[in-house]
């Protein structure tokens, strides 16, 4: 199979999977088997793309010419490669986990759940490989709509309210800003193709660059830049596997991916940096990442805390992209992968804790480490990765982001990054620490509690624990794979170094 065909297959395979899954409601085992096979097959066809991507090839394919000069098509480039790899790799892990979680909980509407999940993955692949903003926009909206039934899975009043916020914010930002920016770009340049070095150079200058950038940045509501971040905490009413894959990986990363990709391939980082209009976006991102970290500290609900942590970490990526220099862009690209693996670990742990103990609050987790050592251990590793401490993958991306701020000469931004990292420690580490070092709060009798807890390990079902251990190990592996990711992404950032 040619690489260009693989791109199309990578998008359609999960769709076909979704179609089959939707008809197998009566035979859950078969249905789950199809999900697993599809996710495995997806990863198997995406991995061979690494070769061409590393060697700098950009195979491309057009599916349909929707309007003259405006094809629906796909193209391989490093950032999309990374995003696709992360999404498809973590889909397998999450599928295994979902099966354990959904069955452990005896959830209703499981067929709808797995169907929509597969459609969402297809949309993520479409976003990753989109060859122009138009294609990206289409799959961006497909992702919004396919995840709506997942967010409102429970169908109660809370889910309905969350669904309104979710769809309301994501749809209105994308339609009002992103679509406007897209058509504007088309109007200016007559093309929407993602092109190395950008397409806007010479077509737009001065404050207009800033306005267009703003339309793109806020239009990608999935990036959860303040003040359009409310949908993310709201979406936490969804079952945990949804929060894990979609709201730590596919959906939120689709937002920051869009911003990064637009900065690199539509504006071109030179244009953006030289215009000086990128700075205000840097400040918005810096504000968001600090404010979200501060809010996260105040949240006692574990998933909500993780949600605000995600908002904060997404702004790291936006900041990196907005810096518009090679370090910043590299850091942004890397953080998409690093944060994904770290944060999915944390969410999977939160779900496992919920399945095993029905606890949702941070303050209830004292002493849980003795009962669920694997889960809480993985939580610690995931937390270290998100904070960005060695030997976890996250340390590389934060390193490059810090380099980027230094290169831009923005010491305030550097300071914001550092302070936020301290805040990360403050809201993530205590969870793991409490679990291991504090006595269990379950029983009033302290003596009894420690004896009781020390004696037995009662983890969540195996199907839940194994995936989160795998992603925790992934955090570790990414530290050592930093060099490869750097090499993969480098061509994208090289663009600046070519020009004087």
């Amino acid at each position: 199979m040619n690489p260009e065909h693989t791109l199309a297959v990578a998008v359609f395979l999960p769709l076909i999977g979704a179609l089959i899954v939707s008809t197998l409601g009566a035979t859950p085992n078969l249905r789950e088997a199809v999900t697993l096979i599809t996710s495995g097959a997806l990863l198997a066809i995406v991995i061979p793309l690494l070769g061409p991507a590393m060697s700098g090839e950009q195979p491309a394919i057009n599916l349909v010419m929707v309007l003259p000069g405006l094809p629906l098509g796909f193209k391989l480039e490093p950032l999309g490669m990374l995003f696709s790899l992360v999404a498809s790799g973590l889909w397998i892990v999450t599928s295994v986990y979902s099966i354990g979680y959904m069955r452990g909980h005896d959830e209703k509407h499981q067929t709808r759940f797995f169907t929509c999940f597969a459609i969402a993955i297809a949309a993520a692949q479409g976003i990753a490989f989109a060859r122009n903003v138009f294609t990206l926009f289409i799959f961006y909206e497909v992702l919004t709509f396919s995840t709506f039934p997942l967010v409102t899975h429970y169908g109660d009043a809370a889910a309905k309210r969350a669904g309104r916020i979710y769809l309301g914010i994501l749809l209105s930002t994308s339609v009002a800003f992103l679509l406007l920016a897209t058509i504007w770009t088309w109007q200016l340049t007559g093309t929407l193709e993602f092109t190395s070095g950008g397409i806007l150079a010479g077509k737009v200058d001065g404050p207009m660059v800033g306005i267009l950038l703003g339309l793109y940045a806020f239009g990608s509501g999935k990036a959860a830049l303040m003040p359009f971040h409310r949908w993310l905490p709201a979406a936490m009413v969804a079952p945990t596997p949804v929060s894990a894959l979609l709201h730590a990986v596919a959906v939120v990363k689709a937002g920051v991916f869009t911003i990064t990709k637009v900065v690199v391939y539509i504006f071109g980082i030179d244009l953006l940096r030289n215009s000086g209009m990128n700075l205000w976006l840097c400040y918005v991102a810096a504000f968001t990442l600090l404010a979200a970290s501060l809010i996260a500290i105040t949240k006692d609900n574990l998933k909500e805390r993780l949600a605000y942590s995600t908002i904060s970490q997404l702004s790291y990526i936006v900041l990196g992209a907005a810096l518009a220099n090679s370090w910043g862009v590299l850091g942004a690209g890397m953080h998409i992968a690093m944060h994904a693996v770290g944060k999915i670990t944390l969410f999977l742990c939160a779900g496992a804790i919920f399945v095993a103990t029905h606890k949702t609050l941070v303050s209830q987790l004292d002493g849980l480490g003795r009962r669920m050592p694997f889960t809480m251990g993985a939580f610690g590793i995931g937390a270290l990765c998100v904070i960005g401490l060695p030997p976890m993958g996250g340390s590389w991306s934060k390193w490059f982001l810090a380099l980027g701020t230094a290169e831009a000469g923005q010491l305030w931004l550097l300071a914001a990054l550092m302070i936020s990292s301290l805040l990360n420690i403050a809201y993530l580490m205590p969870i793991a620490a409490r679990a291991f070092f504090l006595p269990s709060a379950d029983d009033g009798d302290h003596e009894h509690a420690s004896k009781h807890a020390g004696g037995k390990i009662r983890e969540a079902p195996l199907l839940c624990v194994v995936p989160l251990c795998i992603t925790a190990i992934g955090c570790l592996i990414l530290f050592f794979a930093g060099g490869e990711i750097y090499e993969l992404l480098q061509p994208m950032a090289m663009v600046t170094e070519v020009s004087p």
Partner: protein, 497 residues
């Protein structure tokens, strides 16, 4: 050669079949004739479209009398597009009709219903095809009178009042049209549109012509339900039989829009209408008002058919907005949306018919839990709704795309943004229905009403599905409507190239 006679066949077949229906009376037979006539008409329209796209506009002298003495039929790409819209909607709606008609209209009246529907279609086709402005008025009256009759056959008594209100407003509209035609004739002595356009050149600054222009525009605006002349529309759509609503909502306003395009661009010309008469300063604010006011009102409706009717008024706003740009992109947007809106509203009103048949009501409160009880039908509602919002890969998106591009070409940023924001209002009213249908459990009372008919009959499901699928197909492959519309737009603006 039959191909040369297509323009007259387009009109004469449905026109003669209507009295045949009244003579035959037998319900099934009449219906069969009706379906056959619609399909033949569709074939004619497609034939005309192909001919005009290949060989340019067709001029057909009725009875062999050349213009300006006789009446001519004139088919250019725009007219052909509208002919295709009208006949294809009719062809899809007809097979759908008998089942829902049984539930809504007394059986002994069916043959009259079918006859009126054929006349209505004839009128709409005639308005589109004719090149003679007085002939337009004649066909307008044919379609209007038959549609008053059709609306009054609605299942509730309120239909009579709705029909009466439409009659009053519609008559004012067509009278205005007639006055306008009269004034123009007074100054030029001709009724042929092309001829009229030429002879207007010298006299266009006269007050009489300006008055004629005003009467014509306002008259057509009433028929088209341009805000604030829309008051007849919500009741008429809400209380008419489901078949009639589906047919009229997809075709009647489109033909009126076509007429407006003809009068403004072909007869009076873009310089007169937009430079001398500043039509854009009237139409643009009105269209934006229509979009926002009607969409907002739609949000608060409890009857879903009424909700969709208000949504139609908003969508007509988009048509007028595209027209008011007076640019190729703007007119393309207008015509593409004419086509797409026919599809999407067709889908939605056909869905309403299915629901009305099952529930005996289209009140929002009766639709609780409908997502589970009628999954296919509600699925198609969601597709139609996504079209209204303008989600990518649906045809509504293509319309929005051109509309926004047209606004940007004129540097009207506020209008571009307003257009985008307005689609969020559509999102709100569609979401209201979706939430009730998918997230609320049906209560005992609504369940009781349900089982009069256990399943949606296939004869209704298939036409609805055809429409729904078409909205997606033309969202992914919009080449056909877009090329035709672009060609037609260039012709309207720069003359018959």
């Amino acid at each position: 050669m039959i191909a040369e006679q297509l323009p007259i066949l387009q009109i004469i077949i449905p026109l003669l079949s209507a009295p045949l229906c009244v003579v035959l009376r037998q319900r099934q037979l009449v219906w069969a004739i009706e379906v056959a006539v619609c399909w033949v008409s569709l074939a004619c329209a497609i034939g005309l479209l192909v001919q005009t796209m290949d060989h340019g506009p067709i001029v057909y002298d009725v009875g062999g009398w050349p213009a300006p003495l006789g009446i001519v039929y004139q088919v250019d790409p725009l007219a052909a597009l509208v002919l295709v819209i009208v006949t294809s909607v009719a062809s899809v709606v007809m097979p759908y009709a008998p089942r829902v008609l049984e539930a809504e209209v007394a059986k002994e009246k069916h043959y009259l219903f079918y006859a009126a529907l054929l006349l209505c279609m004839t009128g709409l086709l005639g308005m589109t095809i004719t090149g003679d402005i007085f002939n337009v008025f004649v066909f307008l009256e044919i379609s209007s009178l038959s549609s008053y009759a059709l609306i009054s056959m609605g299942p509730q008594r309120k239909a009579l009042m709705a029909s009466y209100r439409y009659l009053v407003m519609g008559t004012i509209g067509s009278t205005f049209l007639l006055i306008g035609i009269g004034l123009a004739y007074m100054m030029t002595g001709t009724l042929n549109m092309v001829d009229l356009a030429e002879r207007l050149q010298g006299v266009e600054s006269s007050r009489t012509i300006r008055t004629a222009f005003a009467f014509l525009t306002v008259g057509i605006s009433i028929k088209m339900a341009i805000f604030p002349l829309h008051v007849w529309l919500p009741d008429a759509y809400a209380y008419a039989p489901s078949v009639v609503t589906s047919f009229l909502a997809s075709t009647a306003t489109k033909v009126s829009c076509y007429l407006l395009l003809r009068v403004i661009f072909t007869v009076f010309g873009v310089t007169f209408a937009f430079d001398a008469m500043r039509l854009d300063t009237v139409l643009m604010p009105l269209s934006l008002a229509a979009i926002f006011v009607a969409s907002t009102v739609a949000i608060y409706q409890t009857n879903v058919k009424r909700l969709l009717a208000y949504s139609s008024i908003a969508q007509i706003g988009y048509l007028v907005l595209g027209l008011s740009f007076a640019s190729v992109t703007g007119l393309t947007a207008c015509m593409v949306h004419m086509f797409n809106h026919a599809l999407m509203k067709g889908t939605l009103f056909l869905v309403m018919g299915c629901i009305a048949l099952r529930l005996g009501s289209v009140e929002l409160s009766d639709m609780k839990g409908l997502g589970r009880r009628m999954p296919i039908v509600m699925g198609m509602f969601v597709i139609g709704g996504m079209n209204l919002i303008g989600i990518p890969l649906t045809s509504g998106f293509i319309s929005k795309w051109f509309l926004i591009k047209a606004a940007m070409e004129k540097d009207l940023w506020i209008v571009a943004l307003a257009t985008l924001v307005s689609s969020l209002l559509a999102f709100v009213y569609i979401l209201r229905v979706v939430e009730v249908a998918y997230f609320q459990e049906p209560d005992a009372e609504t369940l009781l009403k349900d089982e009069s008919i256990a399943k949606t009959p296939l004869s209704m499901l298939v036409p609805t599905a055809v429409m729904a699928v078409a909205t997606i197909v033309f969202g992914v492959y919009p080449t056909l409507p877009v090329t035709v519309a672009q060609q037609a737009a260039e012709m309207l603006l720069w003359g018959g190239g």
